[in-house]
Amino acid sequence: MNDTHSEFIVVSREHLTVFEQSLLSLEKAASGNESRSLIEHGLRAVHSMKGDSGFLGFTTIRQLAHAMESLLEDYRDGARLPSTEIVEALLAARDQLAALVEDLDQNQQAAVDDLTRRLLSLEGTMSHAIPLNINLRDWQTQHSGSPLADLFARLDAFGIVEDPQIIGLPDPSAFGSETWTKNCNVNFSGVLITKASPNEIAVLVGVQQPPPFLTPDGFERRVDLGEWQTEHKLSLVELFHELTQAGEIFDQHLKYSPTDLTMGLPTEPIIWQGRYRAAQPVAPPETTDVVTLQDSAGTPQPRPESPVENAHISNGSTADKDRPASPKTAATPDTERLRSLRINVELLDRLMNLIGELTLIRNQTQVAFSEQEGESRNLIQRLNSVTSELQGTVLQTRMQPVGNLFGRFPRMVRDLARQLGKEVEVITIGQDVELDKTVIERLSDPLTHLIRNSIDHGLESPEAREAVGKSRIGQIVLSATPTDGQVCIEIRDDGRGIDPVAVKAKAAAMGLRTESELERMSNRELFSLILLPGFSTAKQVTDVSGRGVGMDVVKTNIDELEGHLTIDSKLGQGTSMNLRVPLTLAIVPCLIVTVGNDRFALAQRELEEIVCLHPGGKRKLEHAFDTEVFRLRDSLLPVIRFSEILARSQPFSADDKAEILAKYPPAERDPAEIEYILVLRSNGKRFGLLVDQVQGREEIVVKPIHAAMRKVTIFSGATLMGDGRVALIANAVGIIEHARCFAAMADDVPQSIPRNPHEVHRVLLFEYGANEQYALPLVQVRRVELLDMNRVERIGAQEFVTLDGVSTRILRLNEFMDVSQCEESPTMFLILPRFVPEPMGILAQRIIDTESLAIDLQTSGNIRGVLGTAIVRSRLSLFLDVQQIRESVVGVTADASGVGEPSGITAANDKWRSTSPRFKAKQRILLVDDTPFFREIVKRYLSAENVEIVTGVDGRDGLELLASQDFDLVVSDIEMPNMNGWEFCKAAREKGYRMPFVALTSLAKNEYEQKAMACGFDDFEEKLDHDRLQQKVLHWLQRSLEMQVPQ
């Protein structure tokens, strides 16, 4: 494909766009004037295409363009508007034309013929378009004496000769600007548009019969038309007319020898050749006609470079008069926007690089000349401003108006609306807002999807709209607004809106979220669910949408663009989809941080917030398992030290992690200088990256890191900084992997409890009645639900609410204890405790906060349901004993229901109580735990009449107690100061103590099973699991008895 061809393609695309826009606007045009000018635009576009294609020898394009033009021509005066049918046909033809243009080499003659016929048939009786293709020289020769002007005059007498031009039918191999005049064929072509009826023409030329050469059988045949004309005394026009009456001529072209037309008409014969297919079966399907006409001198000397396009002058149109024949089209308001110069993107990139270089030179010059005064300073300043402006301008070259993107939607909407039987109006706002080329390209698909969705799901049928009092015509507003380095694109419709209830139901049915989660979600959060794969609330699947594929693709596309989509909707009023995309991808806003002496960039999109650690400040890093953590509001944030990442080239091993923890002991940790934790989110994982300094924000141009360095995963690229040095761009994903941060940690990081010797607990503080403050350790809290009191159902005096499909008992504290009642409010809180198998929740009026504290309980055994009290936030707080409360509830339930079928748990409890007295002597349990709080809880769990519990504070204490007293069972914590549980058990076994040992752990069991057994434990259980712990202890007490019996 040569340059001329690609130029043709570019220009044709513009013409096609203009043509389409004109047609579409035509449907809405108000005044005759307006529609006239629109038709003019359309005509001009298709006309130019016809001219260009004819010039270049693309006959199929020319043929189709011509048919389109002649069809539209009738409406040029704007008096009438083309019917929908005609517009439809024209749009179809436009698409075919576009396909032809994009695929110049492919011959799609058949499709074009069909379309041409369709177009021509639409012209009806209004006019007849008779294609002309006349060998000027032959005509001259045959009509000796008559000037060529005579030919035109005769043709004019029948109607309008439209688009008369000298066209070349080049031998493609010989085509080229140099050889054009010598080697190319030249042809006069045109179409006779006549308003005369066939009869009138017949009368005019005096014939009644169809041309005699039409034979019934289809075959190729050459006819000397000149001869025929002489014989029948008929004009060629008549002949052509007769032919088109009976059928159509196609594949027509002239054959004549290459001669320089500027030197006058050649002497060799010029042959018009074509194939003819008759519409009626009687007529010969295929004929080849040879026209030889004659004329003498006086020929206008048409120059091939300027096809005679001013035929429209005869039609009263002078707009094209001064148009250059070159493909650069005249600027009309519509085409102005599309005027473009195609520049290779690589070239632009090179330009960008050069400018970067220039900036560096400027910076250096500034330094070099900063000492000097006068002339040179002036020069430097000018250099400075020019460079900056240059940089801005080059950046702008990549920017394109959103209008280019929006422009294609009216057509799509129109087609879609027609297909779905809806009436839709599209309004576009902010077409001039500019976006980077790549962003525009990548927005096309998601926007198309969203708009399709709006039309299909959003807008109602005209009837339905009328029924609810809306206008029949639905509206879709497409708008683009620049906001703070981003562009916000909104697609708004005034349709039925999204029903949050339907979304909820669907989401619940699909199991995407639990009911209670859905209950808490805002509408906007709910609507964002429709972006998940497989989600569609449309009741029916249509061709257009509703299969639930698409929206997730939209989301993926938008995520790739680093964009953000939010959906707002009001039922019955419409939906608005807001899309925020960055202006450009080439330039990324980054945070520049330093670690040691090195500078790194971090993409800002991954950054959620920055936490500053001051020397001597309260906020400190702590240790949890093998990682440092930071308490960020309510969650634990794993913290990775960037300096350690940089220092260790291997992904962290357990040893590495231990080393790091040892290096930064939490107790002594008080940073000498301010440190920063960057809270990053990547792949849904949130972590903190500890850096020395934050230098600021900078927009950087991302360059790939060197190909040989692809194994270095903690960086994603490199960039040039203002001072000319290279800085590396940190890669959050790579850093997480390198630190093996989440590999060893449980999924629910925020729930895990850091254990350190100081035994800090997090407790939930809440109020029920106005007088008391209650506290519950967070480890005993499964979750807190927001409770809508309207959803509470009552059975007798008991209250229930359905959570996650389970009917959950609501406990009011004043029913179990002597405490103040709470005031009713529409929404309350329900605290769901852990380790309680029966679904129940403690009602709270207000959640105060969570607080980390070392629990120092004042045991107050008097109040049922209360473990003890402590002063928290200068208020006396009641620490609840969940198990006691539960027992009383379960008891109450059994009593109240009167059913003698106790639940499994109650049975276990009964067994515990009833079994224990059966022991002959009082059983003695040694409970070793360093935490007073847990010690108290576990002690309460195990308390029974015939059981005596002695407590020890650590392993060493335990050993001493074992030495001085007899025990039937030892229950020991693992993590304790001085001597931990492992060591304690080992030491006890070594000393020959044979009683069962049960380990208490707050850790996941499996990992510790082997170790526990190796150390000599008989069993282990989770500390706070009341029921299981009781069962285990019971079991081992019995075993202990059995062991003693034989002795």
Partner: protein, 159 residues
């Protein structure tokens, strides 16, 4: 064997005279504001900005397994053409003359010689040895440098 003459760009590194075909060299600069790449193999000095383009700088001495050779302050950066490898160069102690060496003057290394040169594990980088007047020119094949560095990364992993 015909007597072809090849031009070599010579340079000194760790006290030895090396050469690479002059046609492989894009330019020589004194730019040395390298940005080190953590986790990169030890042969990599870092990235450097040469007029808006980022190049990877390799330390020739390290590449040739010379240990503990400090890079002098006036070291120079020899950048190779993109036909040799993507955007990279080597840092040498000092750039010397361009010398023409005929095929007759060069010899491929024998095993024994490789050992003598103490580059045993990196001998593949040496294309041949040229005998100049009173001097030995070790002719390197820059095409192999990057591959060598990529392997080195693997070697480091096992340390």
């Amino acid at each position: 064997m015909s007597d072809n003459v090849t031009l070599y760009c010579t340079f000194l590194s760790a006290g030895r005279l090396f050469g690479v075909p002059v046609l492989d060299v894009k330019e020589v600069t004194a730019e040395k504001r390298f940005t080190g790449i953590p986790h990169a193999p030890q042969e990599v000095l870092g990235l450097v900005n040469i007029r808006g383009h980022i190049f990877l700088a390799l330390n020739l001495a390290t590449l040739l397994a010379v240990r503990n050779h400090p890079t002098p302050a006036d070291a120079q950066f020899v950048i190779f053409k993109s036909s040799v490898g993507p955007a990279f160069g080597i840092v040498v102690d000092q750039v010397g003359d361009i010398v023409s060496v005929s095929d007759k003057q060069t010899e491929a290394l024998t095993n024994g010689e490789q050992m003598q040169l103490h580059f045993s594990d990196r001998s593949s980088l040496v294309a041949s040895v040229g005998k100049l007047d009173g001097q030995i020119l070790i002719i390197l094949d820059p095409h192999k440098f990057l591959a060598c560095v990529e392997h080195s990364r693997g070697a480091l992993d096992n340390v």
